[in-house]
């Protein structure tokens, strides 16, 4: 058992990766065997993430290093210089927190997929790509090395676009997949160029080593600009968001939830770069306000574009875009005030980071509901739907829970984190809080309209729609329970998992560096 907990970081990447390549072979043995295998892999991965989180949070969120190869990583070179070599994974509170989110979303999405793909072909390909995407996301969250981060970023890009585009018989999926792949590749190349600049300037690729030797010179600033653009593009921040609604909207419904987790992993990369890699070597007021401007644009544009949608998945997709803005707002306020470290800055960090898990749960729930609804109704157009609440009682309740949580209505989880963000951003500037609150109210209007369109009123005779099977209802119920639990007991979760994560970013730069370099 202790060996399992020691090796949890690398197993989290290795097991879904091996599973991904084994699924097409095991799929030859039959659908039941394949589903059992995929379920086993997903459950084991989630258990590992839980184990890792229990270890890290039990340790107060302190950074720990995992060395691949099992030998020391700081062997002095013949010239006497010591630099971290070997492949290193570095896990602190924030990484473990992200791993928990990813485990929650992928486990429920994979469980949902078993029923969702029952009558369709291509299930082996689908599960293979989904596990590959999971491995890539875990890799991005756990690595301690910039270049490995880039490699895992590209693994997620390719797997995500495979998932969006593998239904080649639909024209719109191809259009979406081409667009998404172009922008993902572009963002990956920006990141790679920045890594090249940092390597040329400082001669290392390890995040802690780079953070230690960064000076904030002109080359470092160019690298920061490239990383900021590339990672914000991959996270779907406005004005680089045009791929996001296509990706979330056209991917198979359970996958859309995992794509949101992928965007959050890019956001994690952005936060890691801003807080741990650069930290106070550059003007944090400037970088913080850049994040805040991105955040306000993302919130506002996401919500107003959701207002005009009539396609249920595209509507939720724009909702998902706007939520990325709330996370950026919370963390941006934290970054802008990191030098003076006022109390409200830390509250903003807690809010932004807490919102990541809340968004993953409620957006995941909404995408699963959209999958169940479109599967039952046979259409995604809200104007052609209606009256589904008569036959889909549980699904409609889950939609209400998800929508209220997303719009920040108490007592659901979205309110708990958004309230922290409003409170803290109001203290920095009331204008920020006003935009954020107004957009939340608009979002509520959007989802009330969507609920009314899909679930209330008379049911068109041509519309299908029986209740979703139990295999779909259980994953939705799990996410709904998470939404309610995080909404009813926010203090418990903030104290146990959110505060160590926020602390790791806000205060943890020196600890992150000294975990590798010592001293």
């Amino acid at each position: 058992m202790s060996a399992l907990s020691v090796h949890a970081p690398v197993l989290l990447i290795a097991i879904p990766l091996l599973g991904a390549f084994a699924v097409p072979l095991i799929g030859k043995l039959g659908r039941g065997v394949r589903d059992a295998f995929v379920g086993l892999i997903a459950a084991f991965t989630a258990a590992l993430a839980g184990l890792l989180a229990a270890n890290v949070f039990g340790n107060g969120g302190a950074a720990s290093v995992y060395v691949l190869g099992g030998k020391p990583f700081d062997i002095p070179l013949p010239s006497g210089m010591t630099a971290p070599i070997r492949i290193l994974l570095e896990v602190d509170g924030m990484s473990a927190f992200m791993a928990l989110i990813t485990a929650l979303v992928t486990l429920t999405a994979i469980a949902f997929s078993f029923s969702y793909w029952r009558e369709r072909s291509g299930g082996s390909m689908y599960h293979s790509l989904l596990l590959l995407l999971t491995a890539g996301i875990f890799g991005m969250e756990l690595t301690g090395d910039m270049f490995n981060f880039f490699v895992f970023l590209e693994v997620t890009s390719i797997a995500a676009c495979g998932l969006i585009g593998f239904r080649v018989w639909l024209g719109r999926t191809q259009e979406a997949a081409f667009k998404v792949m172009t922008l993902y590749t572009l963002s990956g190349l920006f990141v790679l160029l920045a890594i090249g600049l940092l390597y040329g300037e400082h001669g290392g690729l390890n995040i802690a080593y780079l953070a230690h030797s960064l000076s904030g010179g002109i080359v470092d600033k160019i690298a920061l600009g490239l990383l900021l653009t590339g990672l914000a593009m991959k996270a779907g921040a406005v004005p680089m968001h045009m791929w996001a609604p296509d990706a979330y909207g056209e991917a198979p419904a359970p996958t859309s939830a995992v794509l949101v987790a992928n965007s959050q992993a890019s956001l994690y990369g952005l936060f890691r770069v801003l807080f741990t890699l650069f930290g106070i070597t550059v003007s944090t007021a400037t970088t913080g306000w850049i994040l805040i401007v991105f955040a306000l644009l993302t919130i506002f544009v996401g919500v107003t574009m959701a207002l005009v949608q009539s396609d249920i998945k595209r509507l939720i997709a724009y909702g998902a875009v706007s939520q990325i803005g709330y996370m950026l707002l919370g963390v941006g306020v934290g970054l802008a005030t990191i030098v003076t470290k006022p109390t409200y800055g830390f509250v903003a960090m807690q809010g932004g980071i807490f919102h990541m898990v809340n968004d993953a749960a409620c957006i995941g729930l909404l995408f699963l509901v959209a999958g169940a609804v479109t599967r039952a109704a046979g259409t995604r157009d809200l104007n052609k739907m209606g009256g589904l609440a008569h036959t889909m009682k549980y699904t409609s309740v889950f939609f209400i829970i998800g929508a209220f949580a997303l719009a920040g209505v108490p007592p659901f989880n979205g309110f708990a984190s958004k309230f922290l963000i409003y409170e803290a951003s109001f203290k920095l500037s009331p204008f920020l809080a006003i935009i954020a609150i107004l957009s939340s109210i608009l979002l509520l209007a959007v989802f009330v309209k969507a609920f009314q369109g899909a679930f209330l009123g008379p049911k068109p005779a041509s519309l299908g729609g029986g209740e979703a099977p139990l295999g779909m209802l259980i994953p939705m119920a799990v996410l709904a329970l998470v939404v309610i639990a995080f909404g009813l007991f926010p203090g418990f979760f903030v104290e146990r998992i959110v505060t160590p994560a926020a602390r790791a970013l806000w205060f943890g730069r020196d600890a992150y560096i000294s975990a590798i370099l010592g001293g």
Binding site: F147, G171, R172, M181, L186, G196, G200
Partner: protein
Amino acid sequence: MNLGNLPFIVSALLVVLGIYTLLFKRNLIKLVIGISLIETGVNLFLVMLGYRSKGIAPIYTFAPAGERMVLPTPQALTLTSIVIGLATTALLLSFAVFIWRHYGTLDVHRIKELKG
């Protein structure tokens, strides 16, 4: 042979040309070429980072003593990046083939099922 800053200028030029192609061309195949150009520029930049004037290949076995070696790390990075580039280009081109089959055109202005 000392190349000075010429390779860096060339790689910057390739990146700029690629971005120009992405912004102003309408044909999907040309967009893939644009991505490819940026990729080549970045790869050239990475290789140049590790280049030392009159350096030899960084292989210790049978290496003559006292010779300067080029840095091996950027070459490993470039190799990885080329492999990833191959995968993305292949994926992009296959999407372009399917778009052609569905819409009968490669012009981005005429493929607009997903708007707004």
